[in-house]
Amino acid sequence: MVDWSILWQAPNGKTLLEALLLTFQIAAISWVLSLIFGIGVGLLREAPIATLRVVGTVHVEIFRNIPLLVQLFFVYFIFPRILPASAKHVLFDYGWEIVASIITLSLYSSAKIAELVKSGFNTIGAGLRMAAASSGLTWWQSQRHIFLNLLLRTIAPGLASEFVTIFKGSSLAMAVGVAETTYVTRQLGTETFQWLPVNVYASAVYLFCAWGIAGVMLLVEKRIAIPGRIGE
């Protein structure tokens, strides 16, 4: 007998809502961090110093070529061993499994965003870079005043799909015991054997959020599109 009411019955409704908020929280923090890391690493790969470029490339290759779940276990088990005791204390109070998930998602996505940044630079072209250099701007000034703006507008479509990926990826946090949507719906299913309502609910959360993110990003892309570029 399929009983949909288990989704809103007394304790479950609140638990699911809290889990949803946690899913949003993990995704939102990871978005911000991965954008910052990603652009940072992307700029490193364009830096005028060879060592920095190598560091950027190594970062990208490491985090792109190891499965997200393996990275999560790696961070979860190994980071606490290298952290100082005081930092450990703070992190464990907050919930180490949540922090580990956020760190992993951010690093994993930063590699892909760095790749986007690189292809964004290729799209913008070498001509503009030379023009910036010949106008007397330093490397940093030209990045800051010219490229960053153009870059963000160029890679906006890629960022949109990366944001969806991060949102979906947050479901893997269940593997280390974070009580986000997938984890809590699993638990509810095991307790009640109402797998259909539980699966429908969890899928609906991911579908609507993915479509929502895609829709919002499409509006943003239209607003910030660079005029005159093909495909607009």
């Binding site: 790696f74 088990f77 991911y206 479509w211």
Partner: protein, 215 residues
């Protein structure tokens, strides 16, 4: 050493077979779906679009849970974790491959299709003998990259209990209590395999890029 060997054997027996079987099954289905997506019959095109969009918006682990639940409901027999993972990964990759094949097919000039029809081939033959061979060559790098992602995603099957490499590592670590050692080996193994393969793909990409291409 003994432990690493059993980790590697889990990799070969589960991750590698899952990936190869899923890719081998998904590719022909995706070719059909791509043509369905480009079909002139509207409801087929819409159905394919809905399938692709839905699967691409869901986490793989959710797809695995669905298969784990639905297939026994239909067939009346329970499904092993391995088969659930395999079916889920296949369904998942069909969605991604369909988009790759579709864009590959669309990159072939429509004149090719018209010319093929003019020589007396049927629409199916034109697709099978003229369009797909050319499109496949062009989209090979993208397909291989996606297959590498499928290989990485095969670790997610550990969540539903497939004893693949990540699961094996967790079991060994529970016994030996040396996480740095075993998880580093696990990560390194994937890094070497995926990095190596991605270099080959990139080399291939540059070779294909060298062919004269229709703009």
């Amino acid at each position: 050493m003994q432990e690493y060997l059993s980790m590697l054997s889990a990799l070969l027996r589960y991750n590698v077979t899952l990936t190869l079987l899923a890719v081998a099954m998904a590719l022909p289905i995706a070719c059909a779906c791509a043509f369905g997506r480009l079909s002139r019959i509207r409801w087929i095109a819409i159905a394919m679009r809905v399938y692709v969009n839905t699967l691409r918006s869901m986490p793989l682990v959710m797809v695995m849970f669905w298969i784990y639940m639905i297939v026994p409901m239909i067939s009346g027999r329970s499904l092993s974790a391995y088969w659930s993972a395999l079916i889920a990964l296949t369904c998942f990759e069909v969605a991604y491959f369909t988009e790759i094949v579709r864009s590959g097919v669309q990159s072939i000039s429509s004149n090719q299709f018209a010319a093929a029809l003019a020589t007396g081939l049927s629409r199916f033959q034109a697709a099978r003998y003229v369009i797909i061979p050319q499109a496949l060559q062009r989209m090979l790098p993208a397909l291989l990259t996606q297959s590498l992602i499928a290989f990485q995603d095969s670790t997610i099957s550990s969540i539903i209990g497939v004893p693949e490499m990540l699961q094996e590592t967790t079991i060994i670590n529970a016994r030996e209590q040396a996480p740095v050692h075993y998880y580093a080996l696990l990560a390194l193994t994937f890094l070497v395999i995926c990095y190596g393969t991605s270099r080959i793909v990139r080399h291939m990409e540059s070779r294909i890029g060298a062919y004269p291409r229709k703009s």
